[in-house]
């Protein structure tokens, strides 16, 4: 298969970016999208055309959340329930033109080409996205039964890989799905309920401070999430937040 690639090139955070056009030929349909970019980089280096295109990637099996490209206007491209590394060239037609961009969000500044700085997600978690337990001195694992339904729902939310596709998909660059998934995961478990009110307050404050927008209510985040995290987590986030203001013991 042959493709024409329009790739966002940007030397560093302050440089002005632009699209550059490259061609790749004889690509196997079984090739993954990132392997296609590997082939391009090999070509760019060997032919001294340009510096290789920078893009984040690591596990290449859809779980680490490191990769994330905006492909033809969709985070992680035109397949459902996959990350960029799991997208394969058979999902494209021979001769396609493909536009490749980084995540675009104020809170995710570009580092180089297609690589962005997502440390804002870490900062939101650091603000309170955990259960404050130190190592040791905890009760036996079976001393607090958790209804299977709740444990399963917590797991559904906990599957988030923190890739940032939800933010990239949202026209407001909102992180509500990411934050909602963590808040819901922990609030659904008895161990997490003790701090739930403080947690939601701290995480939302941090999210706002870092420049993420409010929910656009279009649910593009859910549609593009490679782990198919449900928008109901945003509803849970809102309920937790309202509860923490009006019903709780924490003055928010």
């Amino acid at each position: 298969m042959n493709f024409t690639l329009h790739i966002w090139r940007q030397e560093n955070a302050t440089a002005k970016g632009r699209f550059e056009t490259y061609k790749v030929e004889n690509i196997s349909p079984d090739c993954s999208f990132l392997e296609m970019l590997d082939i391009l980089n090999e070509q760019l280096t060997n032919d001294h055309i340009a510096h290789p295109v920078c893009f984040d990637n690591d596990c290449r099996e859809g779980i680490c959340g490191m990769c994330g490209l905006y492909i033809n206007g969709r985070p992680h491209g035109n397949d459902d329930g996959v990350t960029t590394c799991q997208l394969h060239m058979r999902k494209f037609d021979d001769g396609d033109e493909i536009w490749i961009e980084p995540w675009r969000a104020k809170a995710f500044p570009v580092i180089c080409d297609l690589v962005v700085d997502r440390s804002a997600f870490d900062k939101i978690i650091q603000a309170g996205g955990y259960i404050s337990v130190t190592t040791g001195g905890v009760p036996d694992a079976n001393s607090i039964p958790v209804p299977k339904r709740m444990a399963d729902m917590a797991m559904d939310a906990a599957e988030c890989i923190g890739c940032g596709a939800c933010v990239a998909a949202c026209k407001n660059a909102s992180a509500m799905l990411f934050v909602g998934a963590k808040v819901a995961h922990l609030a659904l478990l008895p161990q997490g309920q003790i701090e739930s009110q403080e947690r939601v307050q701290k995480m939302i404050c941090k999210m706002d401070e870092l420049g993420f927008g409010g929910c656009s209510n279009t649910y593009a985040c859910e549609a593009e999430c490679p782990k198919q995290i449900k928008r109901q987590n945003i509803a849970k986030l809102n309920r937790q937040w309202i509860g923490s203001i009006f019903g709780g013991n924490h003055k928010g």
Partner: protein, 651 residues
């Protein structure tokens, strides 16, 4: 040098307790005066940094990814073992200990493995308290499943994403300490050098590291009273493996160059159920969890002409009648069938493919068939159990495993070898510790499924917080270690020189070109089966390729910039040296054990044949300079507690 494993006195079951009673401690006011560097944020690194921070030490932690949550522990699928005996099926610390020693083919240190089994239950308690959503049954209590090499159900799991959930638990604990200010996070930073400094008595100690800031390319200096390496394994020396693209040996190898012994490098685990290689452009191999072997049956055609017809696309699996299928694991190992340990299953697949019975376009694949399971249990049940794995397989291969059997082949997965550590997880360099897959300590010559997660978290949550204090107790008066010293200058210069040499080379081949070639050599001659002739040949080929690499590699870009090609080149330079050591170690160990199979040492029916008389030791190697033969030190394995036997999975 004499290797002192520092195993505490007393009966096996009391050693850890005795150690803790007698060790030295550091009081809270003094903890604040001490700095610890933790390199790597996988299960071992994140749990260590979080626990040490919570104790009150000042911790600096480093990861090469953009976030600590992305370390490759995240990709572990199946589960984590613990001797909880929640199932009332006869499990105990002693049983987990025995299974682990036997699984490792009697090549692991008894005292370490016993401690691992002893703290395993605490890990599960800790993770549940952190909010890890383990699978539960309808009573609300924790569920378990079975894994290879055990007759009990002791594996705790969170769907097919156990590693992810455990790592997110540790990442939560780490994030809390970052918020409290006890841990400083340095993401996108790669360790490039270890700094050793003489103390007042002239004893060299690990006192700091040089890191490359991967965003700016600038080198940065960090000092500490102790350094912990938790940077994972070295499977990527084979290029294609189930490891993440950026997983690498460099941090551990740098320590080796600076005097830390490297133990049992030839013990590499090759996992039987991975999606086969399909093209030269391929960058990695994807694992299909061991749990699939509970219900999937592995087979190849009985007739060579059928295998050939499948390879040519003239026939499919459906055209092969039941009586013409060879369920070779069930045939060879009637007692364990499809659930033999990983090393055994991998070799059996290779044997069939080498004999000409392999399927798939390359002939290097076997079928993993769920037809019977779907008929017996129904598609719904199979989907509930393995849904995410089936989906992953479908996305990668474009074949629906509910309709047609999966095709699988073995791939490099885990490395049992690593930095040599004593009972305290301290390397042979004072003040330098190694945890998780980066050390060699607990799995002998073969790791059992669901034990890597257990070991990583045991080291980080429950071992290092004790043993590091024992080391640091006499460091409280040392004061902050300055970084503007000749030792740091020299270390930094060594890194810059190396980078400049690579960049100024201006060759004509990419880094990946050489990495792929190295991978081919390793897979061909130092892979699933090894012999003297092949290993000797491999050594010469590695030398030659390494020379070519240093003369012809092309690293574009600038040193002080975001430059992934430079990162890869620096790592590959270390892989060449490691590859040579793996080969040397494999050549010297003239026995077969666990994942190390020497064709010269096998039984009449093709199984591994250990040589306990001559090889019941840990092989620890000391670096002697580039391309110089390394010096071998032996740590004898003394089994005082366990009865040594031949591994038998046939009856």
């Amino acid at each position: 040098m004499k290797l002192d494993s520092k195993i505490p006195q007393g009966p096996l079951s009391e050693k850890w307790t005795n150690y803790k009673i007698n060790q030295k401690l550091v009081n809270p006011a003094n903890k604040r005066k001490l700095n610890i560097i933790v390199v790597g944020t996988g299960l071992a690194g994140a749990s260590a940094a979080a626990s040490l921070g919570a104790l009150g030490f000042n911790v600096d932690t480093f990861c090469i990814q953009d976030s600590p949550r992305r370390a490759h522990s995240i990709a572990a699928q199946g589960g984590i073992n613990a001797a909880k005996n929640y199932q009332n099926d006869g499990d105990s610390v002693e049983r987990l200990f025995r299974d682990t020693i036997k699984g490792g083919d009697y090549r692991a240190r008894e005292a370490n493995v016993y401690r691992l089994a002893e703290v395993s239950g605490d890990i599960i308690d800790q993770c549940v308290a952190q909010g890890v959503p383990f699978a539960r049954d309808y009573s609300g209590l924790l569920d378990n499943r079975s894994f290879g090499g055990a007759q009990v159900s002791r594996t705790f799991y969170a769907r097919g994403q156990t590693g992810q959930q455990l790592l997110l638990g540790a990442y939560g604990a780490l994030s809390r300490e970052i918020n409290r200010g006890t841990v400083k996070l340095h993401a996108r930073c790669e360790m490039e050098e270890l700094v050793l400094v003489n103390d007042s008595e002239g004893k060299l100690r690990a006192r700091g590291i040089i890191v490359r800031n991967l965003v700016t390319g600038k080198l940065e200096r960090y000092s500490a009273h102790a350094v912990v390496i938790a940077t994972g394994g070295y499977g990527n020396v084979y290029y294609l493996s189930t490891n993440a693209m950026n997983s690498n040996v460099s941090a551990a190898w740098i320590c080796h160059r600076k005097g830390a012994l490297f133990a049992n490098p030839c013990y590499v685990q090759i996992h039987p159920t991975c999606i086969p290689v399909h093209g030269d452009y391929q960058s990695k191999l994807t694992l299909m969890s061991e749990s699939l072997r509970n219900d999937g049956r592995i087979w190849v055609p009985k007739k060579k002409e059928d295998a050939e017809a499948i390879r040519n696309g003239r026939k499919t699996a459906f055209d092969i009648a039941e009586e013409d299928r060879d369920y070779y694991l069930e045939r060879r190992y009637p007692a364990f069938g499809n659930l033999v340990p990983r090393d055994v299953a991998s070799r059996a697949a290779k044997e069939r493919c080498d004999a000409g019975y392999g399927v798939g376009p390359t002939g290097l694949a076997v079928f993993l068939d769920f037809k019977d399971a779907i008929e017996r249990l129904g598609r719904d049940v199979v989907e509930q159990k393995y849904g995410n794995l089936f989906q992953m397989y479908h996305k990668i291969t474009d074949k629906d495993p509910y309709e047609t059997p999966m095709m699988i082949y073995p791939a490099v997965h885990y490395t049992m070898g690593g930095l040599w550590v004593d009972y305290e997880l301290q390397t042979t360099v004072p003040g330098l510790f190694a945890a998780g897959e980066a050390n060699f300590s607990d799995h002998g010559a073969n790791r059992l499924g669901a034990s890597a997660l257990m070991q990583g978290l045991a080291d980080g949550y429950f071992v290092l917080p004790y043993t590091l204090q024992n080391y640091l107790a006499d460091q409280i008066t040392v004061g902050k270690i300055p970084i503007n010293t000749p030792e740091f200058d020299e270390a930094e210069k060594a890194v810059r020189d190396r980078e400049e040499r690579l960049l100024n080379n201006k060759g004509d081949k990419t880094v990946d070109y050489y990495h792929k070639k190295l991978g081919h050599i390793m897979w061909e001659y130092v892979g699933m089966s090894r012999d003297e002739k092949g290993l000797t040949k491999a050594k010469a080929m590695i030398d030659e390729l390494e020379d070519e690499f240093w003369h012809h590699v092309n690293v574009p870009g600038d040193i002080e910039s975001f430059n992934p090609e430079m990162e890869k080149a620096m790592r590959l330079a270390d892989y060449f040296e490691l590859a040579r050591l793996i080969t040397t170690d494999a050549l010297h160990r003239k026995e077969s054990c666990g994942g190390h199979f020497r064709t010269e040492s096998q039984t009449d029916d093709g199984e591994t044949k250990r040589d306990d008389e001559n090889f019941m030791y840990v092989a620890a190697w000391e670096y002697q300079g580039h391309k110089q033969p390394e010096t071998l030190y032996k740590e004898d394995l003394n089994y005082e507690h366990i009865k040594i036997a031949t591994r038998n999975y046939k009856n």
